[in-house]
Symmetry: C2
Amino acid sequence: MRRLELIGVEGLPEVRPGDDLGQLIAARAELETGDVLVVAQKVVSKAEGRLIDLNDVTAGTEAVRIAGRLIAKPDPRMVQVVLNESVRVLRSERVLITETRHGYVCANAGVDHSNAGGRDTLTLLPVDPDASAERLRARLGQLTGAEVGIIISDTFGRPWRLGIVNVALGVAGLPAMLDLRGTLDDDGSPLHATVLAVADELAAGAGLAMGKTDRTPVVLARGLRLEGHGTGRELIRPPAEDLFR
Amino acid sequence: MRRLELIGVEGLPEVRPGDDLGQLIAARAELETGDVLVVAQKVVSKAEGRLIDLNDVTAGTEAVRIAGRLIAKPDPRMVQVVLNESVRVLRSERVLITETRHGYVCANAGVDHSNAGGRDTLTLLPVDPDASAERLRARLGQLTGAEVGIIISDTFGRPWRLGIVNVALGVAGLPAMLDLRGTLDDDGSPLHATVLAVADELAAGAGLAMGKTDRTPVVLARGLRLEGHGTGRELIRPPAEDLFR
């Protein structure tokens, strides 16, 4: 019987810049080779020091203009930080949707208020989530001897569906996609359009075990049996291939 | 420790029109109150007789024209069936993306080749996936005494991300969304934009346990602790609220 377990890793302290996230996790989870850890972006960003103090930011005129049009009435300096993280603005009416430097299309470029003390601190997405995932994977291998997979995740909205779901930003040590094209289904017919975004499916499932706020930012997935190595970058659709409009 | 199990229900026979899907599942899973079953749309559609024989379809000129522009080079009669299931065509170049009568935006209106014998048979989405979910939930309650939740799922593509992920079409006996607005995060700051699409997250996670083809169309989720009753309809963003463009 195919059985997948998603287990919240409890008891992580508040993560601060410079913390050894691998050590914090290894001390709280019995890792086995083949396990995958889904780690909320926020704790990775904090450990990596991807924090901005709003007092160091000056909002430009564009940021001030956009801030006034958003439902959340954000601090214009936060909008400035979002613009700095973005290469393209898709929408700036009511909500701010941009394309980040990585290529993600999401609200506020993934910039969020930190809950690590201080209302004036923002977290940014990791510069290279795949590299962050690979570093954490290597560190955990060193500490525990287990060959684990890592997904660094964040919650994104969707254009035609309400609510946010957890998705995979960085991936290391497991495939991001499972390409079934060319294989046959039970009837012997070729499978169509069956490239499964397995890393996104796993991030989403793990989102359920992360709890309501950020109390459980690390979830251990056991029983997956996914072979191979992918990257989160593979999951980003090139803008030229946006097939939906 | 928060622990969620996703268990593939194995040994289901090929489902045919008129089959008692509740009985087929109840015979193969020990259900407990609080469990959620994620059921692939295809077996629900088959049990409900939502099948079309291509030999009963005549392709109109629009269907013929579109079929010639699609990468998959589909039978124009299949395109006709997709158009019949749709209220709006979003894209008909290379791939066919439409809005279904339910309001889903997806490829081919969820119409798929059946693998239940016969290459000339297509499956359609259930007419009312929430009603299908509620019927299955009631039937399983009758058969087992367990109060379970049901998600009827299908795999959809996403505009800015590659690969398909399993999503919730019909929902009964569990919430579809978890609205955290107004609650406070660990720092005491109000949470923003935190309406979690929990039914979609669960459908996605269950997709990993469904296996590569349709061999495991039913997955049992245990350990969720979600209270409340929602519908799949709630997950559809009204077209007027498409905030992403």
